[in-house]
């Protein structure tokens, strides 16, 4: 069943390309704004770059998570989905996994423009940067999809989502910035391994909470 739900999400996106396209264009726009508003030295910009990278991701995650649930509102498809005789926790899992795929795909497309347009060097250890980013994306999407699932049927959901999501994501943002900073500056793993543990705990806690609570949250 989980596979069918994920296939549904991927097929919807393959046909409409709404989520990845909007995240990509928004990401590029943010990079442009960063480039135009950071008249600072290369060294300072390099130090800021991990934070800027994850800030860009934070904004595009809001867009992607909201869109992922918003299209279900059309024709009240979400009500039909939750009234299907399936474990509703699987709906959360499918949104989480598909959201992770969309975010990762968008990041793959954005990583080169981010570093090149800001006139920064690409991370030397790109594979490690990618690997750690995957873990961070999983954590980000766990929280984002859970909060999006909560707010989506309320009025002003587009306003409520960032208001509730950003405080919950704040520890993850600290950890993401520290990890990427460690990778970009070629620091030893010992220097930033605690942040990997924090992200892992976020993934486990919010993943389990999402799976357990989603049924309760979406009940009609």
């Amino acid at each position: 069943m989980l596979f069918s739900l994920i296939s549904k999400e991927l097929l919807m996106e393959f046909r409409s390309k709404q989520i990845i396209l909007s995240m990509l264009i928004f990401g590029l726009t943010i990079i442009l704004i960063f480039a135009l508003s950071t008249d600072i030295s290369y060294e300072i910009l390099t130090n800021y770059s991990p934070g800027m990278f994850w800030l860009m991701n934070l904004f595009i995650v809001v867009l992607g998570a909201h869109r992922s649930f918003a299209y279900e509102k059309e024709f009240d498809a979400f009500s039909l989905l939750v009234s299907a005789p399936i474990d509703r926790g699987l709906i959360f899992l499918s949104k989480w996994i598909s959201g992770f795929i969309f975010l990762t795909a968008t990041q793959v497309l954005l990583i080169a423009p981010f570093f090149k347009l800001l006139l920064l060097d690409m991370p030397e250890n790109l594979s490690l940067f990618a690997l750690t980013s995957l873990l961070i994306n999983i954590g980000m999407m766990a929280i984002a999809n859970l909060v999006a699932g909560i707010v989506i049927r309320s009025n002003f959901s587009e306003i409520l989502l960032p208001l509730l999501l950003f405080p919950l994501l704040s520890p993850l943002m600290i950890a993401a910035t520290k990890i990427s900073s460690g990778v970009i500056n070629s620091q030893h793993y010992e220097m930033w391994n605690v942040w990997v543990l924090i992200i892992t705990s976020i993934v486990v806690i919010f993943g389990l909470a999402g799976y357990a609570l989603f049924d309760f949250i979406v009940e009609e």
Partner: protein, 219 residues
Amino acid sequence: MDFFLKKRKNRLLVFSGTIIFALNLINIILNTPMVADQHWAQKIFYVHVPSAWVGFLSYFIVMIAGFMLYIKNDDKWDDIGLASAEIGTFFMGLVLITGPIWAKPIWGTFWIWEPRLTTTLILFLFYLGYFMFRSFGGNIERIRRQAAALGILAFINVPIIFMSVKFWEPEIQSHPQVEMASQPEGILYPFIFSLITFTFLFIIMLRFRAHTIRLKNSL
């Protein structure tokens, strides 16, 4: 449903709460010793720390009420959760006001990204969003369940936030109240009395607010 003070038990609670709170204030102002390098600024900690304690206790109760609503599906728990969230946010606001008032003369700056203060600020901002969600949410039955889930998520995030901020800026020193237990008797006992007073105040406020919410919902 009755007027809150119509019950003898509630009248007694409010009366004794008022007396204890007045005694606590007099005790803080007149009886507590002056700390050499902090003078009057130190006295704010008899309000600041108990406010923080009550704030976190309130949010803990929001989580418990959320779990109870999840298990029992009884709206009573939503009333308690909402009342506790409101009181908690009031006290967290008090922490964020009294903290900088103390910090300016002692640390020389209004704000430091200290783990507890940062956790307080993050929770405070989250709960402002929580109240907006409850106001604009729509279907009241659904909002109750979703607000319960948000209360649970907010509190299980507390240790993660705290640890993240602690590792984020390890060079920033924590509040001095961690050494409160090793302070002389002149400080420790009034501090404990203040903690008890604020907890008592919280119980009265929670009873009153949950009562008024129930009253409003019954209309």
